[in-house]
């Protein structure tokens, strides 16, 4: 039935959307606050997935694996920020792109050295390895529903952190006017390291949760990095709310477009033409969405005000 398919695909889109949000939240904070383009953000996602796979091997507990992956990647992120990125904030964006692209190569190669070139697989945790009837007679994997729930919960927590806590106020102020924040006596360097570690932890959470549904392999962070960059541009760079809206929009557009666009084209085009055009157009759909959003709102859906 069509409505069932639409519902299932909408949930798939939502699940991709919350994953993208976990990625985009960190990337947009780092871009908005430190003015740093961090192409290695996808590599941190990969690091989270690998650490989760390894920790699952040691502990046998998926929860422990996710916790270790998040903590370990946050620590790795802090170390990378201190060692490699700190000198890049004042450099122009091209230097940052080159340096963080170098980090991608380094981290991908490091993963290959440590874990080998073959993909690792992590089983879906037993407690969630079943399906849930979202409507009578419509099963949906419980694990994917859990991903959606975790993503929404983290989004809520992040909102409270940014909007309600002392750290959140410093983060918002640091995004808007770093000179002022330093003049008030805040150790901006420490604030930047904390923000970068937070972003790395969120990327690792996405990577660890993706480990049971994707294969864990070198280079797995790059496809999602591209989507994430689209998300933060659509949402408005520096804005957490924008990252959330953009992630859900891009997640749904991408999933639903791939699922339905080819069959919709078949209604208006000859079968051979629609078979050729459909998949190509579906994969272009997120970029078309980005173009439309930027044409209507050049600074994204929720442009963070600065200055």
């Amino acid at each position: 039935m069509d409505t069932i398919l639409i519902l299932t695909q909408a949930l798939n889109g939502l699940q991709l959307g919350v994953m993208l949000f976990l990625m985009a939240a960190g990337l947009t904070l780092v871009f908005g606050i430190m003015n740093l383009i961090n192409l290695a953000h996808g590599a941190l996602y990969m690091a989270g997935a690998y650490l989760a796979a390894a920790a699952y091997g040691w502990t046998g507990s998926f929860l422990a694996a996710v916790a270790l992956a998040v903590a370990g990647t946050a620590a790795l992120g802090a170390a990378i920020e201190l060692a490699a990125l700190r000198g890049l904030y004042r450099r122009d964006h091209l230097d940052q792109v080159l340096a963080t692209f170098g980090l991608i190569l380094f981290l991908n190669e490091a993963a290959r050295l440590v874990w080998g070139p073959a993909a690792l697989f992590v089983p879906v945790p037993a407690a969630l390895a079943h399906t849930v009837a979202i409507l009578p007679g419509v099963p949906y994997p419980a694990y994917r529903l859990a991903i959606i729930a975790v993503g929404v919960a983290v989004a809520g927590g992040l909102y409270l952190l940014i909007a309600r806590t002392r750290l959140g106020m410093l983060i918002r102020a640091g995004a808007s006017n770093r000179t002022m924040v330093a003049a008030l006596g805040v150790d901006v360097g420490l604030l930047y390291t904390a923000v970068f570690a937070l972003g790395a932890g969120l990327a690792a959470l996405a990577g660890a949760m993706a480990a049971p549904i994707l294969s864990v392999e070198p280079g797995m962070g790059e496809p999602i990095l591209i989507l994430t960059l689209v998300v933060i541009v659509v949402g408005g760079i520096g804005s957490i709310r924008g990252a959330f809206a953009g992630a859900l929009l891009i997640g749904c557009v991408d999933t639903i477009g791939r699922a339905f666009l080819p069959s919709m084209l078949r209604a208006v085009l000859a079968p051979s033409a629609s078979a050729a055009v459909g998949p190509a157009l579906a994969s272009m759909l997120i970029y078309l969405t980005m173009a439309v959003v930027l044409a209507l709102r050049p600074r994204g859906l929720f442009a963070a005000r600065t200055g």
Partner: protein
């Protein structure tokens, strides 16, 4: 008596331009020390060196006898040096109250664990922030987005934030710049009140173009031209100094 803030032989060049050239400056406790001079005299660069934003090529800065030359802005702020900027530095899309809360949070010297504490529902923090706004007379605008405040009120807010940590030294970069005549007078009045704070106000370094403000507030005036100090003394002596009149004051203040 040790000066509260002392600059010793401070120099800074930008390429071929010597912006600040061997400047000596002593600011005593509780003193309002104005720095004036024509455009390009190096006043703002000197203020940046005092604040720790601009590294001097030579020379030393002392705060109460303690050498602070190598310390960055944040460390100096934690030692009690606050500053205002030529272009008003507030977070535009936070309310006035939230901006003041930010200053209170920064003055708490919070470590990371304390930073997770709620901010918007903390009565102590809110009370301290409201008090800061009251001190400069803008408590009525507490819930207005800082970016929507009138320019004069924005400058008052910035001053309120600088005063939160009860600084020993206040560095003011053109506090009346961009304000209307009434707002300018209000700012001068406010700074006079800060100067006479019961228990002793902060020492102030006042870089200012508006000479009415300078002569209304300053205990001493340092005059700079082309990066050098050409005169330093009480307002009356500076006003009649022939070198100063030639270099700067011109006929308007004869």
């Amino acid at each position: 008596m040790t000066p509260r803030l002392r600059a010793r032989g401070v120099s800074r060049r930008f390429g071929a331009l010597v912006a600040v050239d061997g400047v000596e400056l002593d600011v005593m406790s509780g003193e309002v020390h104005a720095v004036i001079g024509p455009n390009g005299a190096g006043k703002s660069t000197l203020l940046g060196i005092l604040a720790g934003e601009v590294r001097p090529d030579a020379g030393e800065i002392f705060l109460d006898g303690q050498r602070v030359t190598g310390l960055d802005t944040a460390r100096r702020a934690r030692l009690g040096m606050a500053r205002s900027f030529q272009v008003t530095a507030i977070v535009q899309d936070l309310t006035a109250l939230q901006n003041a809360m930010l200053a209170v949070i920064a003055a708490e010297r919070g470590r990371i664990p304390g930073l997770g504490r709620p901010a918007m529902a903390d009565p102590t923090l809110l009370a301290a922030a409201r008090e800061a706004l009251r001190a400069v007379g803008i408590e009525g605008a507490a819930d207005v987005a800082a970016g929507s405040l009138a320019h004069g009120a924005q400058r008052q807010l910035e001053l309120a934030m600088a005063l939160v940590g009860r600084p020993r030294v206040l560095l003011l970069d053109e506090p009346t710049a961009g304000t209307g005549p009434d707002e300018g007078r209000a700012m001068i009045e406010l700074l006079r009140r800060v100067k006479t704070t019961p228990g002793g106000g902060p020492s102030m370094v006042l870089v200012e173009h508006d000479l009415d403000a300078v002569f209304a507030l300053a205990d001493r005036i340092t005059v700079m031209a082309q990066g050098r100090v050409i005169a330093c003394g009480p307002p009356e002596a500076v006003r009649t100094d022939p070198l100063v009149r030639a270099a700067y004051l011109g006929d308007a203040h004869r």
